[in-house]
């Protein structure tokens, strides 16, 4: 008897696994139909790898911190320093690679807090659309949406000690509202679907309906928005560090590098151009990836 049960279970697992692989294959086809999404994915993966293995990849890991080598200061790109060096003689390429980790941390940090908070708020407000609670939540959301997040971040960073953590906090403070708004819209349309109605009629609990029935159907929208937002948050982070409110020197940050570099334009152009290109590349890659994910999810649900 036990043996039979074991067999049944193994069979069950096999079927589940098979269904999952088939599903993944189909998803990949839908994703890769647009070649640009694949390009985006590759760049994002490369950037993540670079951020993880920064000290192995960077040609001069010691240049990421306080380091002075006036002999090689302000060198234009050459074989020894591929992207040139800055006023202290530090390798620009190494510093860019070292700045990726913080940039990604910034994006992840903000989204890890903002998304759960926003999603839960939006889910509740959307499902109980005609109730008072929903109105209260959504008016609060409106207030947060009306505050420009960059200005808010500037204010927080100016009030508290300017550093990466505080600017992240400031961004998170206004960012969740976007997710609340997004999920609110989605949930309030899903609650009219027959499968929700039938769960209600059968008598399923609120928790089940909210998190088992409604939420999974919001995932695709949330994931797409998250990918796009990674780019935007990183851009915001760069803006903050450009005005000196993000990561503090000597730690490398793309924004700081640009703001230091542009004073020496046009002679030392590499100091501005390459960090700027790096920002562009990150934002572009996440946008392309976001488009791909949206393609993958939209046809997957049909």
């Amino acid at each position: 008897m036990e043996d039979r049960n074991g067999n049944v279970e193994a069979e069950e697992r096999r079927k589940k696994r098979q269904a999952r692989t088939e599903n993944l294959k189909r998803k990949w086809y839908q994703f890769s139909r647009n070649k640009m999404s694949v390009v985006g994915l590759v760049i994002v993966v490369l950037i993540i790898l670079a951020a993880v293995f920064q000290s192995l990849i960077a040609p001069y890991p010691q240049h990421a911190k306080e380091y002075v080598d006036f002999a090689n200061a302000n060198k234009a790109p050459c074989a020894q320093f591929l992207l040139g060096t800055d006023a202290y003689g530090r390798d620009v390429l190494s510093r860019i690679i070292f700045s990726f980790r913080n940039a990604l941390m910034m994006g992840l940090g903000v989204l890890c807090v903002a998304v759960p908070v926003g999603v839960i708020m939006g889910l509740i407000a959307g499902y109980y659309k005609d109730k008072i609670g929903s109105t209260v939540i959504m008016r609060v959301v409106d207030i947060f949406l009306s505050l420009p997040s960059l200005v808010l971040a500037l204010a927080v960073a100016a009030l508290l000690e300017p550093n990466l953590f505080h600017s992240m906090m400031a961004l998170t403070f206004s960012w969740w509202a976007w997710y609340a708004r997004l999920v609110y819209g989605k949930a309030s349309s899903i609650r009219k679907e027959y499968y929700i109605q039938s769960a209600e009629l059968i008598g399923a609990g609120r928790f089940h309906i909210l998190f088992r029935e409604v939420l999974p159907n919001c995932f695709s929208t949330i994931l797409t928005k998250m990918t796009l937002d990674m780019g935007v948050v990183i851009l915001m982070g760069a803006s903050l560090s450009f005005v000196g409110l993000g990561e503090q020197p000597p730690n490398p940050a793309l924004g700081t590098m640009i703001s230091d570099g542009y004073k020496t334009l046009p002679e030392n152009w590499w100091l501005t151009l390459f960090p700027a290109l790096a920002i562009m590349l990150i934002v572009l890659a996440f946008n392309l990836l976001g488009d791909g994910i949206s393609d993958m999810m939209s046809s997957g649900e049909g």
């Binding site: 079927k15 027959y194 499968y195 009629l201 059968i202 008598g203 609990g205 088992r212 649900e301």
Partner: protein, 329 residues
């Protein structure tokens, strides 16, 4: 005559339009009953209020006035306030199998939910019961691992039926369960439904706009127009001896495939006009604007429901007595 399992009495459901004193009168004084082991067909055009009637019986809308009773117990409250043991007894199958199953959950999870909520079987027997339910509707038991999007429209509807059966209901409300399916698939679903009805001794309230389908499955048929029942009769009498001009118009508009069917149609009442807005219901008989036989009295007085023949009710001033020559009595 057996006792009714469900009684609907003077049911009204008005929806506010946003304008002061104006209402969408979706259901405007409807009374009928469903007897044990009976299939009652509710037919009508879109906007006639037939789906609203189904949803109100299920408790998806609060009632404006009137009463619903299930085996003598009051059911006039919305679903949220109904006791669990009554919820279990009445189940619904929706029209669109595309949206009645959650695309993110597999068939097993979908069928598991009612078992869990109503504690139908112990946890370790869930899977067994799920497979049983699937076999009951004629599907492979290993469908439990599949997701709705990998199923065809007909299969999805069978899963929806299996979900409704999970709580062992005694009354099923079927809201156009096959209207979005192809006829060759419809045939299978309908046969499954009718077999289940006999086997499990359920009653059905079957809502559809397909009169030919109704002819083949219903014991009694009620026809709705603008929120009110116009005629109600046993299926055979309803088609062979229709009394209301609206019934005649509807039946003679059906496109049929056989010469024999053509002969069964009543004298042609040519279709004209459209169903008016349920906000401004015409005074008198609500059908008089489209009725070729309308007389002075039809414009003034709302016809009451009368029993013109045994178990055959009509809401028409002219039916029965005066209309005999025009009908096929």
């Amino acid at each position: 005559m057996s006792d009714p399992i469900l009684t609907v009495k003077n049911l009204k459901k008005y929806f506010p339009t946003g304008k002061e004193g104006k209402f969408v009168k979706a259901i405007d004084d409807v009374s009928f009953e469903i007897r044990e082991n009976e299939v009652v067909g509710l037919v009508g055009e879109s906007g006639s209020g037939k789906s609203t009637t189904a949803y109100t019986i299920m408790g998806m809308h609060a009632i404006t006035s009137g009463a619903i009773t299930y085996r003598g117990r009051d059911l006039s409250m919305p679903a949220k306030k109904r006791p669990a043991e009554l919820k279990k007894e009445i189940q619904i199958v929706f029209q669109d199998p595309g949206t009645s199953l959650n695309p993110q959950r597999n068939v097993g999870q979908i069928l598991q939910m009612p078992l869990k909520v109503h504690h139908i079987v112990e946890k370790h027997e869930w899977l067994k019961r799920e497979e049983e339910l699937l076999r009951l509707v004629g599907m492979e038991p290993d469908t439990v691992y599949r997701y709705p999007k990998s199923l065809g429209g007909g299969e999805r509807q069978l899963v929806a039926i299996a979900r409704a059966l999970a709580t062992n209901p005694s009354l099923m409300v079927l809201d156009e369960p096959t209207s979005s399916l192809d006829v060759s698939i419809q045939a299978k679903i309908i046969r499954t439904l009718m077999d289940l009805q006999k086997k499990l001794g359920m009653s059905y309230l079957f809502i559809t706009h397909d009169m030919s389908l109704m002819r083949n499955i219903a014991d009694r048929i009620a026809i709705m127009y603008l929120g009110r029942i116009m005629e109600m009769a046993p299926a055979q009498a309803f088609f062979e001896n229709p009394q209301h001009p609206y019934t005649k118009m509807l039946v003679s508009s059906i496109p049929v495939v056989l010469e024999e069917e053509e002969k069964l149609k009543p004298d042609r009442v040519e279709s004209r006009g459209e169903i008016p807005s349920p906000v401004d219901i015409p005074p008198g008989c609500r059908f008089h604007g489209r009725c070729p036989y309308a007389e002075e009295i039809c414009r003034r007085e709302e016809p009451p429901m009368r029993e013109v023949l045994p178990d055959h009710y009509v809401a028409c001033h002219l039916a029965g007595g005066k209309n005999e020559t025009k009908g096929r009595i």
